[in-house]
């Protein structure tokens, strides 16, 4: 296709010349309030963007139309004119009976889907009454120990029609918890093929982001993740079996470039593994999904989403030659950045999260969770949860930013920044490739150092005031009355302990032992672990028992601490 530039080259030269004069005579007369203006990830930003900054852009080649290649302007043609992004607010605390109430409350108030978080013991593969779990049962999410808990969690919720996101974080949790969800669905007479939803199931979560001292070796964590992807590809067609958790890498400290670089490298590695297992790219790629942050640099985040949307299909086509256009769609959920919120003057967080959410909408997200204003203080209360949901509804219904698709398309600044980010992200992916791919980059500690170094640089910029945070390092209030209640987690340990004891006393112990033995056997024969665990959970074995069995099989890894 012939390259057509928006402006002819003579015009471009004239613009450049006028720009130089303007800088010398008009702009240059006024003072700037910083030495340097840059994005959060360190890319320099110029005073003004003109056609000169997008001179290489070819509209049809580089921007195109939404719902088709290059997908820059949106994965669907109508985007929010067709339907809004899913308003998917997180919920999870205490015993499952309690979280079930919060699920119902949010659905009643207009939430479009379930977004379930699990407590720290569940995320780590410990039962609620494990000695290690004593202080944490019910904290950070809902406690799930057995399939009975899963049944209570979704009691009265139409899982055959509502899409359910299970924030299982990492494979040690996902392999049991997702299996329990599927097994419970079958018990309720719901076909697996009818289920719609997402699991996080990201091996980087347990090997590079928050690493337990008893962590699986990276190869096994990766295998478990891929077992779940394969299981869903064959049995649960409408399920997104993985949600590459860029949000969490970002919360751990990496920048926008590393965030997308890591999710795409992870996705490429999973794709290679699926192909190695004999699947075709179009069998599973349409269901690979992504989970990104919405941080405070408004335009960088928007450009980041757009860059990812154009880069992913480019990488797929280069490496795997997909034929189904659905494989090319970079579909993503956004959570507004928790780490950007402050404990000081918490009501300010409502503004912050609104700006974050707006960037996600202008960036074309498929679903969004907005953090509560009490994010830095406690698990969200009902009030902070519903306020966050209302932020989404106000954005959707009052601002009219949804009137047109990709409203910022064509902005000189946004297109220039999108291009720049795409180049930087590509460079980072090539760096990981040169390390032997993402699993090797984890083994060697490369990923840990990248995240850790970025986190430290960010804190130094806060310490120096170079990154102002209102209420934290500027506009501090020395006396503050906390304007909100602090959520108290309901009693969980005693309830779950009693349940587990009852279950272990009354279940058929021979069947339970056999179920766990099957898990071990599947490991020996390199079988798909989800195939067997979906069966095992029916024998009322607990997540802790499954995790213990897996740790005995695969051993643990000595990870880098930084």
């Amino acid at each position: 296709m012939e390259r057509k530039s928006q402006e002819s080259s003579e015009n471009m030269a004239e613009i450049a010349q006028v720009e130089q004069e303007w800088i010398a005579t008009t702009y240059g007369k006024e003072k700037e309030r910083r030495q340097e203006f840059s994005t959060l990830s360190g890319l320099l930003v110029e005073p003004l963007y003109t056609p000169r900054h997008v001179a290489e852009l070819d509209y049809l080649r580089d921007l195109g139309f939404p719902g088709q290649e290059p997908y820059l302007r949106g994965v669907h043609a109508t985007m929010y004119r067709g339907r809004p992004w899913t308003h998917r607010q997180l919920a999870g605390y205490g015993p499952p009976e309690e979280t079930n109430k919060r699920y119902k409350f949010l659905l009643n108030e207009g939430a479009g889907g379930i977004n379930g978080v699990f407590d720290y013991p569940t995320l780590r593969g410990y039962d609620s009454n494990d000695p290690r779990a004593y202080a944490d049962a019910g904290r950070g999410g809902v406690a799930i120990d057995t399939i009975e808990d899963m049944a209570a969690l979704f009691d009265g919720i139409p899982i055959d029609t509502i899409s359910c996101s299970l924030v299982t974080c990492q494979p040690i949790c996902n392999i049991s918890v997702q299996s329990m969800f599927f097994a419970n669905a079958l018990r309720r007479g719901v076909c697996l093929a009818d289920l719609k939803g997402t699991s996080q199931n990201d091996f980087l979560m347990e090997t590079a982001v928050t690493i337990s001292p008893e962590v699986f070796p990276p190869w096994f964590s990766f295998k478990l993740s891929c077992d779940a992807i394969e299981f869903c590809t064959r049995n649960v067609r409408h399920w997104n079996p993985i949600s590459f958790a860029g949000y969490n890498y970002r919360e751990a400290g990496c920048n926008a470039i590393q965030e997308v670089g890591l999710v795409l490298s992870n996705a490429l590695a999973c794709s290679e593994e699926m192909l190695r297992r004999g699947l075709k790219i179009d069998d599973f790629a349409p269901r690979l999904s992504f989970f990104l942050s919405a941080q405070s640099d408004f335009f960088e985040e928007i450009a980041k989403y757009r860059a990812a949307r154009r880069l992913w299909p480019r990488l797929l086509k280069e490496r795997f030659s997909p034929e189904d256009e659905r494989s090319l769609k970079f579909r993503f959920h956004v959570q507004t950045a928790g780490v950007a919120l402050t404990a000081q003057q918490p009501l300010n967080n409502i503004s912050r999260s609104a700006f974050h959410a707006l960037s996600a909408v202008l960036g074309g997200a498929q679903s969004i969770h907005v953090d509560g204003y009490d994010e830095a203080l406690c698990t969200p209360t009902e009030l902070s949860s519903v306020t966050a949901l209302r932020t989404q509804q106000i954005l959707d219904l009052e601002t009219r930013v949804t009137n047109t698709v990709d409203p910022l398309g064509g902005s000189y600044f946004v297109e220039n920044l999108t291009d720049k980010l795409e180049r930087e992200i590509s460079r980072f992916i090539n760096e990981i490739d040169s390390q032997g791919g993402i699993v090797e980059a984890v083994n060697s500690g490369f990923v840990h150092r990248e995240i850790s170094d970025s986190a430290y640089r960010y804190q130094l910029s806060i310490d120096s005031g170079d990154t102002p945070i209102v209420g934290l390092n500027c506009y501090k209030m020395h006396e503050e009355t906390l304007p909100c209640e602090i959520f108290r987690i309901p009693e969980t340990f005693a309830i779950q302990d009693a349940k587990l004891k009852r279950i272990k006393e009354t279940r058929n112990s021979r069947v339970a032992e056999k179920a766990l033995a099957e898990v071990g056997k599947s490991f020996e024969t390199n079988g798909n672990m989800m195939d067997v665990i979906v069966q095992s959970v029916g024998a009322l074995v607990s997540e802790g028992e499954i995790a213990e069995t897996l740790k005995k099989c695969a051993g643990t890894w000595d990870p880098p601490l930084f």
Partner: protein, 134 residues
């Protein structure tokens, strides 16, 4: 930054199953850069493990990072263990999602300063230097 924290040994620890370790690692690094000897425990430490490490490493101070909301339970357990081991003179400080309304309770049981997320790391360094000298 001048290396003024020399001779101070600090254990930065993550008790319980909370996995939010960004702050703990940043603080560990900042204290190291200020010249202190820092031991970072990694995740999932029990109060028993923390106290044992603190004694084995002969630290001056223990910093607990807790974002799970379990701070009252965990700090109380750590302080009780330190008393049991006659090490109650160790400085215990902390950080994380610990609301100010819980600070009086922590102070009563002998905990020192609590630092909210994003606290200027210089402030933590100065606090430790002053507290250890005292």
């Amino acid at each position: 930054m001048a290396k003024k924290g020399g001779n101070i040994r600090v254990l930065v620890a993550k008790p319980g199953l909370d996995g939010h370790d960004r702050g703990a690692k940043v603080v560990a690094r900042a204290l190291t850069n200020a010249g202190m000897e820092v031991i970072y425990s990694g995740l999932h430490q029990t109060p028993e493990q923390i106290v044992q490490t603190a004694l084995d490493e002969d630290v001056n101070a223990i910093g607990l990072s807790i974002h799970s909301g379990a701070h009252k339970t965990i700090f109380a357990d750590v302080m009780a263990l330190l008393r049991e081991k006659s090490a109650a003179d160790l400085i215990v400080f902390g950080g994380g999602s610990i609301p100010t309304r819980d600070w009086p309770y922590l102070s009563e049981i002998g905990v020192g300063r609590i630092f909210l997320p994003g606290t200027n790391t210089e402030e933590i360094v100065e606090y430790l230097i002053t507290a250890v000298e005292a």
